[in-house]
């Protein structure tokens, strides 16, 4: 099974849980690398977002306060850092400030450098930095196809929010 096939299966598995919703830009209309992996996700479970990364993260936190498990999709790390306020200051800190335990699965990717190099604003990997910044959000990194399904199953079962980092170079 390829990395991309495993991701497609993982998203289909997540979609089978009635609590999940898939939230992000180009989750309904396509146009980014992760879109084909949502093939098994029913359209009624997808929420297309405007380009408003921090708003999207907070919006997903709010959905989580209502009992949903949003899968919040940011196709590249370079875009996810625009949501750092809501991720680091809010989703990560709410469990430290009271009794809310929001569960969001954040899906992002490290952009490829081969065969096309997307340059310094589309290929950054901030995984190590965010591991240091996040105190309650788990961080998982998918380095092979074998890790994909078990990691997303773990993310769905985890009592905390989980940030899952994919490597887009492995999509080929």
């Amino acid at each position: 099974m390829t990395y991309k096939e495993a991701l497609t299966l993982a998203m289909t598995m997540l979609a089978e849980d009635p609590r999940t919703l898939f939230v992000g830009q180009t989750v309904v209309y396509g146009g980014q690398t992760m879109f084909p992996t949502l093939r098994g996700v029913p359209m009624e479970k997808r929420i297309e977002m405007p380009v408003a990364e921090d708003f999207q993260m907070g919006f997903c936190t709010g959905l989580a306060l209502k009992g949903f498990i949003p899968v919040s999709i940011y196709p590249r790390w370079d875009f996810l850092i625009l949501a750092a306020n809501q991720l680091v200051n809010h989703l990560d800190k709410l469990p430290l400030m009271g009794d809310f335990r929001p569960r969001v699965i954040i899906r992002t990717g490290v952009g490829p450098r081969h065969p096309l190099d997307a340059g310094p604003q589309h290929t950054q990997d901030h995984t190590a930095a965010f591991r240091r910044m996040l105190h309650t959000v788990e961080v998982l990194e998918l380095r092979s196809a074998d890790e994909v399904l078990p990691s997303y199953a773990l993310a769905l079962a985890c009592p905390r929010s989980v940030l899952v980092v994919e490597h887009l170079e492995l999509y080929r």
Binding site: P50, F55, M57, G58, F59, G62, L63, L65, G98, D99
Partner: protein
């Protein structure tokens, strides 16, 4: 609670702070008792309330027992405490509650549940990009939520309109604004306490 009971609660908190019983910043409310008492008459038990770091009055008017609110403040959580039981959420980051509130409102609508979301924010927060995004999204998707701008003209101690050079308020039927004059300093009671 009456206006005088609200004012008395904050005087009590100020005294506790000055007595070194609170080892954290406190943000005291004052000057907006009448406006909030009137607004909270419309807040239903099934509604959610989101407030800023200055949230003591909102918690009390939400119906959270005064002893519970005081316990959280004494525990150092004046500016960031929350309560799932009372559907009450705050943040110490300006504008931080806005998209979270929109998500809760979207969840209410998606499930077809009763209730709405009340979001209280300051006048500087109402000029931020995240506020514009939240209001546009709420309007565009007809989310059950209202934004109440609590306009004392100040962000910490900076005059909001002077900073921007103009008055800014995104027009929306969901956005209400009231004005008031701040009674207490931005933070703490105005008395230097040497911890």
């Amino acid at each position: 609670m009456t206006a005088e009971e609200l004012r008395a609660f904050e005087r009590d908190i100020a005294a506790d702070f000055e007595a070194k019983k609170i080892h954290a910043p406190v943000h005291l409310s004052g000057g907006n008792e009448d406006q909030l008492i009137e607004l909270f008459k419309e807040v239903a038990p099934e509604d959610w309330v989101f407030a800023t770091y200055r949230n003591h009055y909102h918690a009390l008017l939400r119906g959270i027992p005064a002893e519970t609110v005081k316990a959280e403040i004494l525990a150092g959580k004046s500016m960031f405490w929350s309560s799932p039981t009372h559907r009450f959420v705050t943040s110490a980051i300006v504008g931080g509650i806005l998209p979270i509130a929109a998500g809760v409102a979207a969840g209410i609508k998606r499930r077809g549940e009763p209730g709405q979301v009340w979001v209280f924010l300051g006048d500087m927060a109402a000029t931020t990009g995240i506020f514009h995004e939240a209001v546009h999204y709420a309007d565009g998707h007809d989310l059950p939520m209202r934004f109440i701008v609590e306009d004392n003209g100040l962000s910490t101690d900076s005059p909001t309109r002077a900073c921007w050079g103009k008055d800014i308020l995104v027009p929306s039927p969901r956005v209400w604004r009231y004005t008031y004059k701040r009674v207490w300093p931005h933070v703490n009671s105005g008395v230097w306490v040497n911890f």
